[in-house]
Symmetry: C2
Subunit: 336 residues, 2 copies
Amino acid sequence: MKIAIDGMGGDNAPKSNVEGVVSAIKEYNIDIIITGDKDVLEREFANYEFDRSKLEIVHTTEIIENEDKPVKAIRSKKDSSMVVALRLVKEGKADAVVSAGNTGALLAGGLFVVGRIKGIDRPCLCPAIPNVKRGMTIIADGGANADCKPRNLVEFAAMTNIYSKKVLGIENPRISLANVGAEEGKGNDLMKKSYEELKNMDINFIGNLEARDVINAKTDVIVCDGFTGNILLKSAEGVAMSVMGLLKETFLSSTKGKIGAMLLKDDLRKLKSFMDYAEYGGAPLLGVNGGVIKAHGSSNSKAIKNAINQGIKFAKGNVLEEIEDFVQSFKEDNEE
Amino acid sequence: MKIAIDGMGGDNAPKSNVEGVVSAIKEYNIDIIITGDKDVLEREFANYEFDRSKLEIVHTTEIIENEDKPVKAIRSKKDSSMVVALRLVKEGKADAVVSAGNTGALLAGGLFVVGRIKGIDRPCLCPAIPNVKRGMTIIADGGANADCKPRNLVEFAAMTNIYSKKVLGIENPRISLANVGAEEGKGNDLMKKSYEELKNMDINFIGNLEARDVINAKTDVIVCDGFTGNILLKSAEGVAMSVMGLLKETFLSSTKGKIGAMLLKDDLRKLKSFMDYAEYGGAPLLGVNGGVIKAHGSSNSKAIKNAINQGIKFAKGNVLEEIEDFVQSFKEDNEE
């Protein structure tokens, strides 16, 4: 098992990436190939003691920045840490790849460097948001495809069903459709047509779900177009962060508040950890011909380590083969 | 000035509706026509002392329930408190109408009983969500139209611009487009095309806004199709409610937590009031030929009173005439 990692991608790269790699090697005893400036990476790794035989550094000379235009960056920065890491998966030199870099570039790289699984129309990005049961809920698509057809949502549902079983270990994942009401027949044209398709699929489709119930752990996966997924996710993120900010402000505005907050320190930390993305690793890009895990841009070492673990499970779970099987059976069903 | 109110609509009707009416008569010295079962309403009003000459009760025999199919209910329950209240506005007997009843039915009633303003393609429902600056942000459309064309978003922007000035007293309302990124050219097909239209309008268009920034008071109005608006709003509501729930659970889980929570009681109440819909009145239905205010289904008397105040400002601000002026100038611009 060998995982590739983009050493220079992410707000805290290369420090967090290197630290995450060291933790992953120690914890999972796997082989890692990291891409990036060799001198810089060597200096970082020198701070840690670990089994160096598990690590390979592939020197790259370019970095894709957050401000770079995704498609242009992938095409022009051929020796960037991200493109080279993606190529390692494409060429079978690594079993999966993790990057915390430019999301748009990673999506473009997934398409142009790694390539789609034959028969899949559109790959989807599947971030997870924490729910009140201390679990997580997958949004598919979380932002890769702004405009979708019902066929795309069918693919998203099938692929996340496989991913949830094989990587997250959920036996019979509940899959729902993002909508404005629970009843059949609700929503926009896309959702009405997609409902008809999803209810006939061989998955545990639990119907429409309102956005307010995503955090209430009523589903394991919520399926939608990438525009809707982004709105749902970012709206939730914005409120969670603002409420935590207001809470802090409220507590610090009086002496009584400060004493109260001190007493509650541990409890508040628990609450904060519920909203901590680092706990949950990264978002898989499903539908491309290799394991590609997008770690959060602000990933710390723990988030990187967890994303590497996702990559390991992705490869071990034969997710790609399962998706290919779905494509085959889907094709046969539609030829009947 | 005369405001009509659906006396039987809402989870707390008729009690909260009656109490809200009494407060509004006292505070704003206006005339109210309330629709509903006369005996039931009389019994409720008997609990309060106020100037009865300001109140008229119009007896109705039917109630539209939350479970009723909207269009069917409006067409078949002609003597319902909601339909009769809407008809009062249509016939010019009231200057605006407030209802806390079935949202879908009120939308249908707005279209079929009150009717559209000539030249407006689609009316929009404009709920507001609280923001961190203790103000509010309008979502337009918040759920009336699941599928929209760019033309609809142009109308939503123009109408909320007028409403924000005339009813909310915002001098130069910031109007943004809900999107997945701030840069021009982002988003789905609808948003790309709508951006082109909005940037050429005579409004303070501040460009695309990500869903996470709605709560941060970066805009006064966010324009989108009703499907997206519903997802944005409900996702925010769900997280706000869940975080408050988790907070409570966390505080009550230990003695230290309980003491801390007691010390923080006043501060926590302040935080809760930030998320209190009652403070903010109702959502106007813009584009129909009369002032129609949808109060929250769970409105208490304060929310009803505030929604009545919105109706007063709507009528005083000549919002309808201003929308008609926009339609006229828009028509002329497109004929040039």
